[in-house]
Symmetry: C2
Subunit: 208 residues, 2 copies
């Protein structure tokens, strides 16, 4: 017995399928991701996680060294996926590249809100060694968005008084979707992506 509907499990199972095996380890990780996203890492007990995965508390330690190791796996794979969402966009035009990138990144933070919340809000619960690993991934994400802004300014497509500040703001806007998005709200993840792509282009527009 679990506290999730079959649909939700199926969706998440799909998204973690290639990253985590065997099956029991993946079930445990998905249970942990939901618990961490719902209540936060420190408010979640290993008993919560085990109960959600339909196993005994001791089963956690068959596949993971510790509760923190479980957090690290979620955070690492989550960061890798969100980075891949960015780098998958390939478009020669800076405006189109920015629009597609922002749409995809904002959409990801809504669609995979559970993982995104753990990725964005539980960094401080990682061990120093594990934090260093995801910090490197975060640096790549920031650099990637800065580069798109820089390319657009050089190509004459964008105009801004502060390139890095605006790149930071665009990233920040997308990331914060994980905080406020609710699956039962009016806007779909795709709606949010479309709106945010427009807003990002306005933020970098040449005419104000």
């Amino acid at each position: 017995m679990t506290s999730l509907g079959e649909g939700e499990y199926a969706l998440l199972d799909q998204s973690w399928h290639d990253a985590i095996t065997p099956d029991a380890a993946r079930r445990m990780l998905i249970a942990a991701a939901h618990a961490f996203a719902d209540k936060g890492y420190h408010a979640t007990t290993t008993r919560d996680i085990a109960a959600r995965a339909g196993m005994s508390p001791a089963a956690v330690y068959i596949h993971y060294r510790s509760k923190e190791d479980l957090l690290f796996q979620i955070s690492k794979v989550g960061h890798e996926r969100s980075l891949k969402v960015l780098t998958a966009v390939q478009d020669p035009d800076p405006r189109d590249r920015m629009a597609k990138t922002v749409a995809a990144f904002a959409r990801w933070h809504a669609e995979f809100r559970t993982t995104a919340r753990v990725v964005q809000y539980e960094l401080g619960s990682l061990s120093p060694e594990h934090h260093a690993v995801v910090a490197e991934l975060r640096r790549k994400i920031e650099t990637h968005v800065r580069q798109i802004v820089e390319d657009g300014v050089k190509a004459g497509s964008f105009e801004t008084p502060d390139q890095n500040g605006t790149a930071l703001a665009v990233l920040s806007l997308c990331i914060d979707v994980a905080r406020w998005y609710r699956p039962d709200g009016k806007r779909t993840p795709e709606d949010i992506g479309t709106l945010y792509a427009d807003l990002a282009l306005r933020m970098l527009s040449k005419s104000v």
Copy 2:
């Protein structure tokens, strides 16, 4: 002995001075706000709070019913202050009103990052009754920003395909400052306010 410099205490003491008395209660609350902002509510122990305030663990319960009550006081006063920052802005021109409002709200989330982090990221740790109180304050904050957008569109100053969505994005942008801002970074709270006011106006600009 505390883990904060005198300057930091003086600043925060100033900001909580009229809201919380007596002195020991205020010291405890400031210690709790810093601990909650640094490590999160659930990772913070009453021993942490007491140690930061330079008192014994039992002293927490002289002025507060529970650890959660301490969180509620911080969250309630913090929400009230951030709402006041918004409503203090009075300007007849919609563009100027929006610019000043965003500058002040973004700046507040940087300048009072400690309180802001508790306000924005510990809602889920409040009891249902206490959560309802701050939820009402949050509704007022959202409504206030929506109203400025609506006024600007009616006056012909703003143009947007989605009024509520853009109002939400502007709020979200300001709130997320509490997540990424570091006092030792390059940008001052005032810099951030200035940049964000410009970005908000671009997001609502008539010419794209």
